[in-house]
Amino acid sequence: MSAQLVFAVPSKGRLMEQTGDFLSQAGLELRKVGDARGYRGEIEGLGGIDVAYVSASQIVAHLNAGSAHIGVTGEDLVRENISNADRRVVFLKKLGFGYADVVVAVPQCWLDVDTVADLQAAAAAFRRTHGRSLRVATKYLNLTRRFFSANGLTDYRIVESLGATEGTPAAGTAELIVDITSTGATLKANGLKLLEDGVILRSQANLVASKVAAWPAETKKTRDAMLDRLGLAGQALF
């Protein structure tokens, strides 16, 4: 039992369906074990794998803790939640779905702000007028901090936002946002625009392996069989 490979897949929504489709194309069928409302499964015809249906953000936590060996999750979540991602996980394959860009967006009426450098100028002026920093609403605390620090923006404050982030500038609880967008439609609907150099990360769903999980020989064999079926054999692993 302990040598079972734990494969964490999204537990609901589009991501779950698309993960199933991706595996089907390689001839691998996901099947729930026991009750259909349960959260455990297997892959037909491929032994040694425990499929765990988990929420997308929890998949990252499992990979980082080593309690899942392989998982399907967005690169944005991996980069946000693991501080040194490349030392703890391996990105095996971009899956071509779950596209989402993590971007910096400001109100459309900020005609004087089109780049991060403009934002720095606006932040300095804002502090002189209001006596405080610009507030950035986001759930991507770490991505935001790393991006702004690499781009020389220092004078801002993060306001953690777990939903309806696009609405915060109009509501007056933040001045700008860092959030994911796929088409930009929601940004526009909320009177926001993307900064020219404001794409922090172009993210999509990835097949990700944990470097910190226990990998006894038998589990590695299962992994190689699975990757072989997915056309990923021969990758430099760990």
């Binding site: 005609l111 004087d112 089109d114 450098a117 002026a125 209001h130 405080r132 500038p169």
Partner: protein, 392 residues
């Protein structure tokens, strides 16, 4: 360098008693501000980048708290609690734990919890005198604890400000340069930009708006920007007002029309920042280099030399002190004189002590006005490692 055995602990305690007794004998009252602090104060003052180095967590009611990353800000808060009214003089000292997140694989000189012993002086209007006393007292304490050899470095943000003030350019360009102070590459890049192409690209700004800004008429410009937003169907939303947006646009338009920064002026700034000289000779050197540029600079050099004299008078061996124009310490809140003490065995990446003047910090954390403040702190684990010569 972390304290692992009871003997290490006792050695560190004994050292702390030595340091504190030096501070107390010099008239500093011992204080113990809380370990857990409101995070907002630190994030506001030092900047959001601090979040990457500080243990920030959430209280039961959602308030952001942190384990203090240094003792200077907590001591400021304690001072304000005791003296909310008109500025009072106060001198404090402390010995307590501070916490910093360290990247995986950080060396022993960068532990994630360490003890700082330090002093702070508030409200002392005899600025250079207070600075000299602070530096000298930190050195005395280090000596008492057994430190024998050191490299001392001082810097002076007042001089940098005077050089900038003397350089002919719009105030907003000075702000751009000040923002990059201490970041070598970025500062040089900004200076180069100002001498070649000071304006950002105006391609993204609608032609109608640019036209509207042609006139030297801020009030009219605001109306025209409003008209443009209206005609383009863009709603004015958020906390940044129409006049702030117009000001931003006017700055961009002014940059686009401005003559780039004079090459000789840029060279003067560059030349100043390259100065690194023994502190005793630095004054003369600076005077030869810049003394004629403006009365402002001459006055700043006088101040610098007065401080050097006071340091000498306080018994600091100035032959061991180097002045570096580029040196500003990596914390945003320093505003004038800065210093650091480096032990040869640990090197510049792990100073044993440091400090300086931070006159705007108290106002930033809630004082009704600017209050003169100067302080210094010792990294006690590093000090112990150096004086015990790796025997531990």
């Amino acid at each position: 360098m972390s304290v692992q055995t009871p003997r290490d602990f006792e050695a560190l305690e004994a050292q702390a008693r030595t340091l504190l007794s030096v501070f107390i004998a010099a008239g500093h009252e011992a204080v113990a501000p809380p370990t857990i602090q409101p995070a907002a104060v630190f994030l506001d003052v030092v900047g959001e980048s601090l979040r990457g180095r500080t243990y920030v967590f959430t209280g039961l009611d959602g308030e952001e708290l942190c384990l203090r990353p240094d003792l200077t800000v907590p001591t400021c808060l304690l001072y304000l609690q005791r003296h909310p009214g008109p500025e009072a003089c106060a001198r404090y000292c402390y010995n307590g734990t501070a916490f910093r997140i360290q990247p995986e694989g950080a060396d022993a000189a960068h532990p994630r919890e360490f003890r700082q012993a330090g002093i702070e002086s508030y409200g002392d209007l005899a600025r250079q005198d207070a600075e000299a006393k602070t530096f000298a007292l930190v050195l005395t304490a280090l000596q008492q604890a057994g430190l024998r050899t050191w490299q001392l470095r001082i810097g002076d943000l007042g001089l940098f400000d005077a050089v900038l003030a003397a350089a002919e350019m719009p105030e907003r360009w000075r702000r751009r340069l000040r923002h990059q102070f201490g970041r070598y590459e970025a500062f040089r890049a900004e200076l180069k930009r100002l001498t070649t192409q000071p304006a950002r690209s105006i391609g993204a700004i609608p032609a109608a708006v640019l036209e509207a800004l042609e006139f030297d008429d801020p009030v009219g410009a605001e109306q025209r920007v409003a008209d443009y937003l209206d005609s383009a169907g863009i709603e004015l939303s958020g906390t940044r007002s129409l006049s702030e947006i117009t000001d931003g646009l006017l700055s961009i338009a002014a940059d686009a029309k401005a003559k780039p920064l004079d090459a000789a002026t840029a060279a003067m700034i560059d030349c100043y920042l390259d100065v690194a000289a023994p502190a005793r000779l630095a004054g003369t050197h600076l005077r030869n280099l810049l003394g004629k540029a403006s009365p402002n600079i001459a006055a700043a050099i006088d101040t610098f030399e007065r401080r050097v004299g006071l340091l000498e008078g306080s018994g600091v061996d100035m032959s061991t002190v180097e002045f570096s124009a580029e040196f500003g310490r990596n914390l945003a809140y320093y505003t004038g004189f800065v210093f650091e003490v480096v032990a040869p065995s640990l090197g510049r990446s792990s100073p044993v002590a440091g400090g300086g003047r931070y006159d705007s910090l108290l106002k930033a954390v809630g004082a009704p006005r600017q209050i003169p403040a100067v302080g210094g702190a010792i990294h006690t684990e590093r000090l112990l490692a150096v004086v015990s010569g790796g025997k531990r």
